[in-house]
């Protein structure tokens, strides 16, 4: 919490006569509405009213109002996808299986990083004037995956990701991941 917010909550705590109780309630709400708050913030920062976003997202204003007035648990994936679509944003879901062994978790993380770097390269490619940036990202991605494989060569069979990657090589092929799905 930043200094201004800290001052505000202290002032409100004094006003309601229960600073600790207020702080706990606010923290509980923050925890239960983190995604809702993030969505709402994105909309407001873009200067869109609920009605305007509802029209863009293809959902009714009352549904959108209920989403923003509710908790994270009450959101549906479809509604969040449409909400973000109305803002011109897309959504990815990462499933994290806590029961997996460490090697498999490492593989998940490396694949996710590979996806992010591929996406970054795609974005950079949209700027036609910056070939150097595209090449740099491609090279970096290749090095990250290559170094990972080199370091964990003995477990490569368990965590095989992209066996043909060499440092300095542009890598834009998507590794298949069961964990990162565009929605």
């Amino acid at each position: 919490m930043n200094a201004k917010k800290e001052e505000d909550i202290k002032a409100f705590g004094e006003l309601v006569g229960d600073p600790d109780g207020l702080r706990k309630e606010v923290a509980r709400l923050d925890e239960g509405c983190a995604l809702v708050s993030a969505l709402e913030r994105l909309r407001v920062e873009r200067g869109l009213s609920q009605r305007e976003l509802a029209a863009r997202a293809g959902i009714s204003p009352s549904t959108l109002n209920r989403m923003e007035a509710g908790t994270d648990d009450q959101l549906t994936i479809g509604a969040v996808r449409r909400y973000l679509g109305g803002l011109g944003l897309s959504m990815h879901i990462m499933l994290d299986d806590e029961s997996l062994p460490a090697a498999a978790k490492i593989k998940q993380s490396v694949i996710a990083i590979g996806h992010d770097l591929a996406r970054l390269a795609d974005l950079a490619r949209q700027d036609p004037g910056d070939k150097e940036l595209v090449e740099g990202i491609g090279r970096f991605r290749g090095e990250v995956l290559f170094n990972f494989l080199l370091r964990y060569m003995d477990t490569q069979s368990k965590i095989s990701i992209a066996p043909d990657i060499r440092p300095g090589e542009e890598v834009f092929e998507e590794a298949e991941s069961p964990l990162l799905h565009p929605v």
Partner: protein, 116 residues
Amino acid sequence: MTWTLDNTLANANRFKAYNRKHPAETASCIRNTMKLLDTLRGGVPFQNAKFGFLRSEGGGLWRVGQTGIPHAKETRLYFCVRGETLSVLCIGGKETQRGDIDMCRKIIAGLGGETK
């Protein structure tokens, strides 16, 4: 941005009493007010801060509602804006709405037209 919070005009007894009965709803309205302040401090003009929980009562009086609480008691935190100061005035439920708004309007009238 230098948006500040002012509690000096607030009905403190009402806030204390309401918080004792409805702590979650009180916290939610306060949290939403802090969200509004945070947005204003981030450079979003007041008229563009289009939160679903924010409503104008006319005459420079605004209200923030509660969100994020299933089956909540409808609660309103009233405030006015003077320059870049958000002055909190009162909190109440739907049943006291008329009286709360009248009381807030009197406070605003006493400020001599500084509000927006």
